[in-house]
C-alpha cells in the first residue's frame, strides 16, 4: 500500500489517535464527575438530568458549526466535538450505575466507619463500575465516530481526512484501505482495553454484571 510507504497513513493515524485519546480522557473525567454528582444529588438530577438526555439525542457532529465559531478551525474545535460525543453517554451510564447501587452496600460501608470521599472511591465507584465500563465503551465508540465525522467535514490531517482525500482523488483503493484501517483501530482498542476490563469484572462479580447485582 502506497499509504504506508509515504507515511501519510502513519501521520494520519498519529494525529487521529492523539485527538481521540485527549478528547476521550477529558470526556472520561467530565462524564464520571457529572454522573457521580447527578446520581447522588436529587436536585441535580431534576435540573441537569433531562437536559443531558436531550443533549445526548443530538448527534455530536451538530456541535461542529458551533465549535468552529467558538474555537476557529483548530484542534480545540474537533476535540470539543469528540468530548460532546463521548462524555454524555459516560455520564448517563455512571448516573444509572450509581442510582442502581443497592442501598445495603452504602449502609454496610457507613456502619463500618466509611464516609466522605472514601465512600465514593471505595464503595460508590466500584459498585457502579460494571455499568460505568459499559458507558465507557459506548463513549469510546461515540468518540471515535464523532472524530471521524469531524475529520471528514473539517479538512485537516487525520484518518478521516485520508478518507476524504481518497474520494477527491477518485482512489477507491485508498478509501477502502482507510475504512479497514479505521475499523482495525477501533477493534484494537476495544480488545486491548474494554474487553479486558469487562473480563475482569465478570470474574469478580460472577456471570451477570450490571450494577444492580445483589450479593
Amino acid at each position: 500500500m502506497a499509504g504506508f510507504q509515504d507515511f501519510s497513513f502513519l501521520i494520519g493515524m498519529k494525529v487521529s489517535l492523539v485527538r481521540i485519546v485527549v478528547g476521550y480522557l477529558i470526556s472520561l473525567v467530565l462524564g464520571l464527575t457529572l454522573g457521580l454528582l447527578i446520581g447522588r444529588f436529587r436536585i441535580l438530577e431534576e435540573t441537569v438530568g433531562s437536559l443531558m438526555t436531550g443533549l445526548q439525542v443530538l448527534p455530536s457532529i451538530c456541535w461542529l458549526p458551533l465549535a468552529i465559531l467558538w474555537f476557529g478551525l483548530s484542534e480545540n474545535a474537533i476535540q470539543f466535538v469528540v468530548v460532546m460525543g463521548a462524555f454524555l453517554s459516560i455520564a448517563i451510564a455512571t448516573d444509572g450505575g450509581v442510582r442502581n447501587i443497592s442501598p445495603i452496600y452504602l449502609h454496610a460501608a457507613k456502619t463500618m466507619g466509611v464516609r466522605g470521599i472514601s465512600l465514593y472511591t471505595r464503595v460508590i465507584l466500584p459498585a457502579a463500575l460494571p455499568s460505568v465500563v459499559t458507558g465507557m465503551k459506548l463513549g469510546w465508540s461515540f468518540a471515535w465516530r464523532s472524530l471521524m465525522a469531524g475529520e471528514l467535514l473539517f479538512v485537516s490531517v487525520g484518518v478521516g481526512h485520508l478518507l476524504q482525500m481518497g474520494r477527491e482523488l477518485n482512489d477507491m483503493a485508498q478509501v477502502i484501505a482507510v475504512m479497514i484501517l479505521i475499523m482495525a483501530m477501533g477493534l484494537l482498542f476495544d480488545q486491548l482495553i474494554f474487553a479486558r476490563l469487562e473480563k475482569r469484572i465478570r470474574r469478580k462479580w460472577g456471570a451477570l454484571s450490571n450494577g444492580a447485582v445483589k450479593t
Partner: protein, 278 residues
C-alpha cells in the same frame, strides 16, 4: 456497651402520607446482653436496629450508648445485614479487611482479617470472590467482617433468614460460642421465634404497625441451647401466641378485613402439657 432506648418514635414520609413505623419504644439493654427482637414484618424492628446503628435518626425520643446520645453511625456498633451485604468487587479477605483500611498498616490488617476468617472457618477461601460462596459462607464472611472491627455492639438484622435450616443451626451454635467468648452486646432481629429463644437472653415481641414493645420475655435456660429442646419449644410457643395476634392484625391490613386466622390444634396453649415431656 449499654444501649438505652428512650421513648423512641420513627415516622416515614411516603406517597400516602406519614407512616408511623415505631412508637413509644423504651428498652434498656445491658452491656454483654443478647437481646432479640421478634415481630410481624413491617413492625419496625429493623427500623429500630437502624436507629441504634445511627443510619437513621429518630423522629422523637433518643437512643443513648453508655449515656451518650447516638447521632450517627460508628464502628462501635456494626450491623450484619440479611443479605450479608458483602462487596462483590472485593475478594473474601479484602471484604473482611474493609472496615480496617486506614486504621492500621496493611500487614496488621491482613493478620486481623486472617484471625477472624479462621474463627468462622473460612481460612481456605480468602482469595475467593463473593459470587463463588454459598449463602452460609457469605454469612460467615459477614460475621468475620463485623467482628474484625471489634465492635462493642453487634447489630444483626435477620442475618440467617435466607439460609437453609441445617446451615442456620450450625451458625446458631457458632454465634453462641463467639458470644460466650467475646461477651459483646448483641441485638438480633428475627421473625423466627425459635431462633430468638435459642439465642436471646431477653426476647422482645413487637406489635404490628406502629411497632411497640408488646411483651418482654426473659429466657432463663442454660447455654448452649438446642433448637429442638423442650424448653426452647415451650418458650417459643408462649411467644408465638403473643405474636400470632399481631400477625393477624398485620395481615388484616394487607388482605381483606374480614379475614381471620383459623384456630389450629397444634398451637395449643403452652400451659397445657399433653404428656409430651415424658
Amino acid at each position: 456497651m449499654r444501649i438505652s432506648i428512650e421513648k423512641v418514635a420513627k415516622e416515614f414520609e411516603t406517597r400516602n402520607g406519614k407512616v408511623l413505623a415505631l412508637d413509644e419504644t423504651s428498652i434498656d439493654i445491658q452491656s454483654g446482653e443478647f437481646a432479640c427482637f421478634v415481630g410481624p414484618s413491617g413492625c419496625g424492628k429493623t427500623t429500630l436496629l437502624n436507629l441504634i446503628a445511627g443510619l437513621e435518626a429518630p423522629s422523637r425520643g433518643q437512643i443513648k450508648r453508655n449515656g451518650e446520645v447516638i447521632s450517627g453511625p460508628g464502628i462501635d456498633r456494626v450491623v450484619i445485614f440479611q443479605e450479608a451485604a458483602l462487596f462483590p468487587w472485593l475478594n473474601v479477605i479484602q471484604n473482611v479487611e474493609f472496615g480496617l483500611v486506614g486504621r492500621m498498616g496493611a500487614q496488621k490488617r491482613r493478620e486481623i482479617a486472617r484471625t477472624f476468617l479462621n474463627l468462622v472457618h473460612l481460612g481456605r477461601f480468602e482469595k475467593s470472590y463473593v459470587h463463588e460462596l454459598s449463602g452460609g459462607m457469605k454469612s460467615r464472611v459477614a460475621i468475620a467482617r463485623a467482628l474484625a472491627l471489634n465492635p462493642s455492639v453487634l447489630l444483626m438484622d435477620e442475618p440467617f433468614a435466607a439460609l437453609d435450616a441445617q446451615t442456620r443451626d450450625i451458625l446458631h451454635e457458632e454465634i453462641q460460642e463467639i458470644w460466650a467468648k467475646s461477651k459483646q452486646t448483641i441485638i438480633f432481629v428475627t421473625h423466627n421465634v425459635r431462633e430468638a429463644v435459642r439465642l436471646g437472653g431477653r426476647v422482645f415481641v413487637f406489635t404490628a404497625r406502629p411497632g411497640r414493645i408488646k411483651k418482654e420475655f426473659r429466657v432463663q435456660l442454660a447455654r448452649p441451647r438446642d433448637i429442638n429442646s423442650e424448653d426452647v419449644l415451650s418458650y417459643a410457643q408462649e411467644i408465638q401466641k403473643e405474636l400470632r395476634e399481631e400477625i393477624e392484625k398485620f395481615l388484616k391490613e394487607e388482605v381483606d378485613r374480614g379475614w381471620t386466622l383459623k384456630k389450629t390444634d397444634f398451637l395449643r396453649p403452652a400451659g397445657i402439657d399433653l404428656g409430651s415431656g415424658i
